[in-house]
Subunit: 103 residues, 4 copies
Protein backbone atom coordinates (compact mmCIF):
# COMPACT_ATOMS: atom_id res chain seq x y z
CA UNK A 1 0.00 0.00 0.00
CA UNK A 2 1.10 3.56 -0.68
CA UNK A 3 0.83 5.48 2.56
CA UNK A 4 0.46 9.19 1.97
CA UNK A 5 0.42 11.32 5.10
CA UNK A 6 0.19 15.00 5.76
CA UNK A 7 1.47 16.20 9.06
CA UNK A 8 2.14 19.34 11.01
CA UNK A 9 3.87 19.51 14.38
CA UNK A 10 4.31 22.55 16.61
CA UNK A 11 5.44 23.38 20.11
CA UNK A 12 2.68 24.94 22.21
CA UNK A 13 5.05 26.50 24.74
CA UNK A 14 7.33 28.59 22.50
CA UNK A 15 5.18 31.60 21.61
CA UNK A 16 3.35 32.48 18.44
CA UNK A 17 6.30 32.20 16.03
CA UNK A 18 7.11 28.54 15.49
CA UNK A 19 8.82 28.81 12.11
CA UNK A 20 12.24 27.72 13.38
CA UNK A 21 10.79 24.51 14.77
CA UNK A 22 8.97 23.82 11.51
CA UNK A 23 12.24 24.42 9.65
CA UNK A 24 14.05 21.82 11.76
CA UNK A 25 11.38 19.25 10.92
CA UNK A 26 11.63 20.11 7.25
CA UNK A 27 15.37 19.54 7.28
CA UNK A 28 14.73 16.06 8.72
CA UNK A 29 12.05 15.36 6.11
CA UNK A 30 14.21 16.62 3.25
CA UNK A 31 17.08 14.37 4.39
CA UNK A 32 14.84 11.29 4.66
CA UNK A 33 14.90 10.76 0.91
CA UNK A 34 11.15 10.08 0.80
CA UNK A 35 8.99 11.99 -1.69
CA UNK A 36 7.49 14.98 0.09
CA UNK A 37 5.81 18.30 -0.56
CA UNK A 38 5.73 21.23 1.81
CA UNK A 39 2.46 23.14 2.01
CA UNK A 40 1.30 26.17 4.00
CA UNK A 41 -0.40 24.02 6.66
CA UNK A 42 1.59 20.80 6.66
CA UNK A 43 3.92 18.53 4.79
CA UNK A 44 2.91 15.55 2.66
CA UNK A 45 5.13 12.49 2.73
CA UNK A 46 4.77 9.19 0.85
CA UNK A 47 6.15 5.73 1.54
CA UNK A 48 5.47 2.54 3.41
CA UNK A 49 3.77 2.90 6.81
CA UNK A 50 6.99 2.31 8.75
CA UNK A 51 9.00 4.68 6.56
CA UNK A 52 6.72 7.68 6.93
CA UNK A 53 6.10 7.18 10.65
CA UNK A 54 9.83 6.82 11.30
CA UNK A 55 10.26 10.33 9.86
CA UNK A 56 7.44 11.73 12.00
CA UNK A 57 9.06 10.15 15.04
CA UNK A 58 12.43 11.74 14.24
CA UNK A 59 10.77 15.15 14.05
CA UNK A 60 9.13 14.51 17.43
CA UNK A 61 12.38 13.36 19.05
CA UNK A 62 14.14 16.48 17.82
CA UNK A 63 11.39 18.80 19.03
CA UNK A 64 11.13 17.28 22.48
CA UNK A 65 14.77 18.13 23.13
CA UNK A 66 13.75 21.72 23.87
CA UNK A 67 9.93 21.85 23.99
CA UNK A 68 7.69 20.80 26.85
CA UNK A 69 4.43 20.56 24.98
CA UNK A 70 4.02 19.43 21.37
CA UNK A 71 0.90 19.15 19.24
CA UNK A 72 0.63 17.40 15.91
CA UNK A 73 -2.00 16.42 13.39
CA UNK A 74 -1.35 13.52 11.02
CA UNK A 75 -3.77 12.73 8.20
CA UNK A 76 -3.31 9.35 6.52
CA UNK A 77 -4.52 8.23 3.08
CA UNK A 78 -3.40 4.67 2.31
CA UNK A 79 -4.27 3.08 -0.99
CA UNK A 80 -3.56 -0.26 -2.57
CA UNK A 81 -1.63 -0.47 -5.79
CA UNK A 82 -0.68 3.15 -6.29
CA UNK A 83 2.45 5.17 -5.91
CA UNK A 84 3.68 8.60 -6.96
CA UNK A 85 0.46 9.95 -5.51
CA UNK A 86 1.81 13.30 -4.36
CA UNK A 87 1.86 14.33 -8.03
CA UNK A 88 -0.89 12.14 -9.44
CA UNK A 89 -3.60 13.30 -7.06
CA UNK A 90 -3.07 16.93 -8.10
CA UNK A 91 -3.04 16.09 -11.82
CA UNK A 92 -6.19 14.02 -11.44
CA UNK A 93 -8.13 16.89 -9.87
CA UNK A 94 -6.91 19.41 -12.44
CA UNK A 95 -7.91 17.12 -15.30
CA UNK A 96 -11.33 16.62 -13.78
CA UNK A 97 -11.95 20.33 -13.17
CA UNK A 98 -10.73 20.98 -16.71
CA UNK A 99 -8.60 23.97 -15.95
CA UNK A 100 -5.28 24.89 -14.37
CA UNK A 101 -5.60 25.21 -10.58
CA UNK A 102 -3.27 26.90 -8.12
CA UNK A 103 -1.06 24.14 -6.69
CA UNK B 1 -7.11 38.27 11.72
CA UNK B 2 -5.97 36.27 8.73
CA UNK B 3 -7.73 32.92 8.83
CA UNK B 4 -5.84 30.26 6.95
CA UNK B 5 -7.59 26.91 6.73
CA UNK B 6 -6.78 23.63 5.13
CA UNK B 7 -9.66 21.35 4.42
CA UNK B 8 -10.49 18.09 2.75
CA UNK B 9 -14.00 16.72 2.25
CA UNK B 10 -14.97 13.29 0.92
CA UNK B 11 -18.07 11.15 0.59
CA UNK B 12 -17.79 7.89 2.54
CA UNK B 13 -20.49 6.10 0.54
CA UNK B 14 -19.20 6.44 -3.04
CA UNK B 15 -16.39 3.89 -3.23
CA UNK B 16 -12.64 4.32 -3.17
CA UNK B 17 -12.37 6.81 -6.06
CA UNK B 18 -13.57 10.19 -4.88
CA UNK B 19 -11.67 12.39 -7.34
CA UNK B 20 -14.81 13.67 -9.08
CA UNK B 21 -16.23 14.92 -5.80
CA UNK B 22 -12.95 16.60 -4.93
CA UNK B 23 -12.97 18.25 -8.37
CA UNK B 24 -16.42 19.72 -7.80
CA UNK B 25 -15.23 21.26 -4.53
CA UNK B 26 -12.18 22.67 -6.25
CA UNK B 27 -14.31 24.34 -8.89
CA UNK B 28 -16.28 26.03 -6.08
CA UNK B 29 -13.06 27.10 -4.35
CA UNK B 30 -11.50 28.39 -7.57
CA UNK B 31 -14.62 30.47 -8.30
CA UNK B 32 -14.69 31.94 -4.77
CA UNK B 33 -11.94 34.41 -5.62
CA UNK B 34 -10.14 33.74 -2.32
CA UNK B 35 -6.43 32.92 -2.38
CA UNK B 36 -6.06 29.15 -2.28
CA UNK B 37 -3.59 26.39 -2.92
CA UNK B 38 -4.44 22.79 -3.78
CA UNK B 39 -2.30 20.12 -2.16
CA UNK B 40 -2.25 16.31 -2.31
CA UNK B 41 -4.21 15.96 0.96
CA UNK B 42 -6.31 19.12 1.13
CA UNK B 43 -6.75 22.67 -0.03
CA UNK B 44 -5.55 25.78 1.77
CA UNK B 45 -7.75 28.85 1.68
CA UNK B 46 -7.18 32.28 3.21
CA UNK B 47 -9.59 35.04 4.17
CA UNK B 48 -11.77 36.28 6.98
CA UNK B 49 -13.46 33.62 9.13
CA UNK B 50 -16.84 34.08 7.45
CA UNK B 51 -15.37 34.09 3.96
CA UNK B 52 -13.50 30.82 4.24
CA UNK B 53 -16.28 28.99 6.08
CA UNK B 54 -18.83 30.17 3.50
CA UNK B 55 -16.75 28.37 0.86
CA UNK B 56 -16.53 25.19 2.95
CA UNK B 57 -20.30 25.32 3.40
CA UNK B 58 -20.87 25.63 -0.35
CA UNK B 59 -18.73 22.54 -0.93
CA UNK B 60 -20.77 20.67 1.68
CA UNK B 61 -24.12 21.77 0.20
CA UNK B 62 -23.02 20.60 -3.24
CA UNK B 63 -21.78 17.25 -1.95
CA UNK B 64 -24.89 16.46 0.08
CA UNK B 65 -26.99 16.66 -3.08
CA UNK B 66 -25.87 13.15 -3.98
CA UNK B 67 -23.95 11.73 -1.00
CA UNK B 68 -25.39 10.25 2.14
CA UNK B 69 -22.31 10.37 4.32
CA UNK B 70 -19.62 13.03 4.20
CA UNK B 71 -16.42 13.38 6.19
CA UNK B 72 -14.24 16.43 6.39
CA UNK B 73 -11.21 17.69 8.28
CA UNK B 74 -10.63 21.42 8.65
CA UNK B 75 -7.42 22.77 10.18
CA UNK B 76 -7.45 26.43 11.15
CA UNK B 77 -4.48 28.75 11.72
CA UNK B 78 -5.63 32.30 12.54
CA UNK B 79 -3.11 35.03 13.15
CA UNK B 80 -3.32 38.73 13.94
CA UNK B 81 -1.86 41.25 11.58
CA UNK B 82 -0.74 39.03 8.74
CA UNK B 83 -2.00 38.30 5.27
CA UNK B 84 -0.66 36.62 2.15
CA UNK B 85 0.29 33.73 4.38
CA UNK B 86 -0.18 30.96 1.82
CA UNK B 87 3.02 32.17 0.18
CA UNK B 88 4.84 33.72 3.11
CA UNK B 89 4.73 30.61 5.31
CA UNK B 90 6.49 28.56 2.63
CA UNK B 91 9.13 31.24 1.99
CA UNK B 92 9.76 31.58 5.70
CA UNK B 93 10.50 27.87 6.13
CA UNK B 94 12.73 27.74 3.05
CA UNK B 95 14.70 30.72 4.25
CA UNK B 96 15.14 29.16 7.67
CA UNK B 97 16.22 25.74 6.33
CA UNK B 98 18.57 27.56 3.99
CA UNK B 99 17.87 25.52 0.90
CA UNK B 100 15.21 25.07 -1.75
CA UNK B 101 12.51 22.67 -0.58
CA UNK B 102 9.90 20.82 -2.61
CA UNK B 103 6.72 22.92 -2.43
CA UNK C 1 -28.40 15.64 7.62
CA UNK C 2 -27.03 15.21 11.13
CA UNK C 3 -23.74 17.07 11.33
CA UNK C 4 -21.50 15.71 14.05
CA UNK C 5 -18.28 17.61 14.57
CA UNK C 6 -15.40 17.27 16.93
CA UNK C 7 -13.30 20.32 17.47
CA UNK C 8 -10.44 21.61 19.55
CA UNK C 9 -9.21 25.19 19.58
CA UNK C 10 -6.13 26.57 21.35
CA UNK C 11 -4.10 29.73 21.45
CA UNK C 12 -0.52 29.22 20.30
CA UNK C 13 0.82 32.34 22.01
CA UNK C 14 -0.23 31.77 25.64
CA UNK C 15 2.24 29.18 26.89
CA UNK C 16 1.83 25.49 27.53
CA UNK C 17 -1.21 25.67 29.85
CA UNK C 18 -4.27 26.47 27.80
CA UNK C 19 -6.93 25.03 30.11
CA UNK C 20 -8.54 28.38 30.88
CA UNK C 21 -9.11 29.05 27.20
CA UNK C 22 -10.58 25.60 26.71
CA UNK C 23 -12.88 26.23 29.68
CA UNK C 24 -14.21 29.43 28.13
CA UNK C 25 -15.05 27.56 24.93
CA UNK C 26 -16.78 24.86 26.94
CA UNK C 27 -18.95 27.40 28.69
CA UNK C 28 -20.06 28.69 25.26
CA UNK C 29 -20.74 25.15 24.05
CA UNK C 30 -22.65 24.21 27.20
CA UNK C 31 -24.84 27.31 26.84
CA UNK C 32 -25.58 26.62 23.16
CA UNK C 33 -28.15 23.98 24.04
CA UNK C 34 -26.82 21.60 21.37
CA UNK C 35 -26.01 18.01 22.34
CA UNK C 36 -22.30 17.80 23.08
CA UNK C 37 -19.71 15.64 24.76
CA UNK C 38 -16.37 16.77 26.10
CA UNK C 39 -13.44 14.47 25.51
CA UNK C 40 -9.75 14.61 26.41
CA UNK C 41 -8.74 15.89 22.96
CA UNK C 42 -11.80 17.78 21.75
CA UNK C 43 -15.51 18.30 22.06
CA UNK C 44 -18.19 16.62 19.96
CA UNK C 45 -21.20 18.67 18.97
CA UNK C 46 -24.26 17.68 16.95
CA UNK C 47 -26.79 19.72 14.98
CA UNK C 48 -27.41 21.25 11.60
CA UNK C 49 -24.38 22.58 9.74
CA UNK C 50 -25.19 26.22 10.56
CA UNK C 51 -25.90 25.46 14.21
CA UNK C 52 -22.64 23.72 14.96
CA UNK C 53 -20.49 26.14 13.01
CA UNK C 54 -22.14 29.11 14.73
CA UNK C 55 -20.92 27.67 18.04
CA UNK C 56 -17.39 27.18 16.72
CA UNK C 57 -17.41 30.77 15.47
CA UNK C 58 -18.48 32.07 18.90
CA UNK C 59 -15.58 30.22 20.51
CA UNK C 60 -13.22 31.76 17.96
CA UNK C 61 -14.59 35.30 18.49
CA UNK C 62 -14.15 34.94 22.23
CA UNK C 63 -10.60 33.63 21.93
CA UNK C 64 -9.42 36.31 19.52
CA UNK C 65 -10.26 38.97 22.06
CA UNK C 66 -7.02 38.20 23.87
CA UNK C 67 -5.00 35.79 21.69
CA UNK C 68 -2.91 36.66 18.65
CA UNK C 69 -2.59 33.20 17.18
CA UNK C 70 -5.23 30.47 17.30
CA UNK C 71 -5.14 26.93 15.98
CA UNK C 72 -8.10 24.61 15.61
CA UNK C 73 -8.94 21.23 14.17
CA UNK C 74 -12.52 20.43 13.19
CA UNK C 75 -13.52 16.92 12.12
CA UNK C 76 -16.92 16.60 10.45
CA UNK C 77 -19.08 13.48 10.04
CA UNK C 78 -22.38 14.31 8.32
CA UNK C 79 -24.95 11.60 7.72
CA UNK C 80 -28.38 11.50 6.17
CA UNK C 81 -31.34 10.41 8.24
CA UNK C 82 -29.73 9.99 11.62
CA UNK C 83 -29.72 11.93 14.82
CA UNK C 84 -28.72 11.31 18.43
CA UNK C 85 -25.44 10.05 17.07
CA UNK C 86 -23.24 11.14 19.97
CA UNK C 87 -24.75 8.28 21.97
CA UNK C 88 -25.66 5.85 19.19
CA UNK C 89 -22.19 5.65 17.67
CA UNK C 90 -20.72 4.56 21.01
CA UNK C 91 -23.45 1.97 21.63
CA UNK C 92 -23.06 0.63 18.12
CA UNK C 93 -19.32 -0.02 18.61
CA UNK C 94 -19.80 -1.60 22.03
CA UNK C 95 -22.48 -3.93 20.70
CA UNK C 96 -20.25 -4.93 17.81
CA UNK C 97 -17.18 -5.58 19.98
CA UNK C 98 -19.43 -7.51 22.35
CA UNK C 99 -18.09 -6.13 25.57
CA UNK C 100 -18.18 -2.98 27.66
CA UNK C 101 -15.59 -0.45 26.49
CA UNK C 102 -14.21 2.58 28.28
CA UNK C 103 -16.21 5.57 27.04
CA UNK D 1 6.69 12.65 27.88
CA UNK D 2 3.09 11.57 28.07
CA UNK D 3 1.85 11.10 24.51
CA UNK D 4 -1.91 11.42 24.26
CA UNK D 5 -3.34 10.74 20.84
CA UNK D 6 -6.82 10.68 19.43
CA UNK D 7 -7.31 8.72 16.28
CA UNK D 8 -9.98 7.56 13.92
CA UNK D 9 -9.46 5.16 11.02
CA UNK D 10 -11.99 4.19 8.35
CA UNK D 11 -12.08 2.35 5.06
CA UNK D 12 -13.19 4.55 2.17
CA UNK D 13 -14.21 1.67 -0.08
CA UNK D 14 -16.71 -0.21 2.11
CA UNK D 15 -19.85 1.94 1.93
CA UNK D 16 -21.35 4.33 4.44
CA UNK D 17 -21.56 1.91 7.40
CA UNK D 18 -18.10 1.38 8.79
CA UNK D 19 -19.03 0.38 12.34
CA UNK D 20 -17.70 -3.17 12.02
CA UNK D 21 -14.28 -1.89 11.04
CA UNK D 22 -14.26 0.55 13.92
CA UNK D 23 -15.21 -2.29 16.27
CA UNK D 24 -12.26 -4.38 15.13
CA UNK D 25 -9.91 -1.49 15.89
CA UNK D 26 -11.50 -1.04 19.30
CA UNK D 27 -10.93 -4.68 20.15
CA UNK D 28 -7.23 -4.19 19.33
CA UNK D 29 -7.08 -1.02 21.43
CA UNK D 30 -8.89 -2.63 24.36
CA UNK D 31 -6.46 -5.56 24.31
CA UNK D 32 -3.40 -3.28 24.19
CA UNK D 33 -3.63 -2.58 27.90
CA UNK D 34 -2.99 1.14 27.39
CA UNK D 35 -5.37 3.66 28.96
CA UNK D 36 -7.94 4.67 26.36
CA UNK D 37 -11.32 6.29 25.99
CA UNK D 38 -13.72 5.77 23.11
CA UNK D 39 -15.54 8.85 21.87
CA UNK D 40 -18.11 9.48 19.12
CA UNK D 41 -15.47 10.68 16.64
CA UNK D 42 -12.32 8.87 17.70
CA UNK D 43 -10.46 7.07 20.43
CA UNK D 44 -7.98 8.62 22.85
CA UNK D 45 -4.97 6.57 23.84
CA UNK D 46 -2.13 7.42 26.21
CA UNK D 47 1.39 6.06 26.54
CA UNK D 48 4.90 6.50 25.23
CA UNK D 49 5.24 7.50 21.56
CA UNK D 50 6.22 3.98 20.48
CA UNK D 51 3.46 2.35 22.50
CA UNK D 52 0.59 4.37 21.09
CA UNK D 53 1.84 4.26 17.50
CA UNK D 54 2.33 0.49 17.72
CA UNK D 55 -1.40 0.21 18.49
CA UNK D 56 -2.34 2.48 15.57
CA UNK D 57 -0.16 0.37 13.29
CA UNK D 58 -1.88 -2.85 14.42
CA UNK D 59 -5.27 -1.32 13.59
CA UNK D 60 -3.96 -0.36 10.16
CA UNK D 61 -2.49 -3.83 9.49
CA UNK D 62 -5.80 -5.45 10.40
CA UNK D 63 -7.80 -3.07 8.22
CA UNK D 64 -5.64 -3.45 5.15
CA UNK D 65 -6.32 -7.18 5.11
CA UNK D 66 -9.67 -6.46 3.48
CA UNK D 67 -9.80 -2.77 2.57
CA UNK D 68 -8.18 -1.10 -0.43
CA UNK D 69 -8.33 2.48 0.76
CA UNK D 70 -7.97 3.64 4.36
CA UNK D 71 -8.14 7.13 5.82
CA UNK D 72 -7.10 8.13 9.30
CA UNK D 73 -6.65 11.24 11.38
CA UNK D 74 -4.29 11.21 14.36
CA UNK D 75 -4.09 14.16 16.73
CA UNK D 76 -1.13 14.20 19.12
CA UNK D 77 -0.72 16.11 22.38
CA UNK D 78 2.60 15.31 24.06
CA UNK D 79 3.51 16.89 27.36
CA UNK D 80 6.46 16.69 29.70
CA UNK D 81 5.99 15.42 33.22
CA UNK D 82 2.36 14.43 33.17
CA UNK D 83 0.45 11.19 33.03
CA UNK D 84 -3.12 10.07 33.59
CA UNK D 85 -4.13 12.88 31.29
CA UNK D 86 -7.22 11.18 29.80
CA UNK D 87 -8.95 11.82 33.11
CA UNK D 88 -7.10 14.87 34.35
CA UNK D 89 -7.75 17.01 31.29
CA UNK D 90 -11.51 16.54 31.68
CA UNK D 91 -11.43 17.29 35.41
CA UNK D 92 -9.33 20.38 34.82
CA UNK D 93 -11.85 21.85 32.37
CA UNK D 94 -14.84 21.06 34.58
CA UNK D 95 -13.17 22.70 37.56
CA UNK D 96 -12.36 25.76 35.51
CA UNK D 97 -15.89 26.11 34.07
CA UNK D 98 -17.23 25.56 37.58
CA UNK D 99 -20.04 23.22 36.69
CA UNK D 100 -20.59 19.62 35.66
CA UNK D 101 -20.13 19.14 31.90
CA UNK D 102 -21.27 16.30 29.70
CA UNK D 103 -18.27 14.00 29.31
Amino acid sequence: MSVLIEFSMSPLDQGESVGDYVARSLAIIDESGLPYRLGPMGTCLEGEWDEVFAVVRRCYERMREDCRRITAVIKVDAREGRSGRIESKLERVERSVGRKLRT
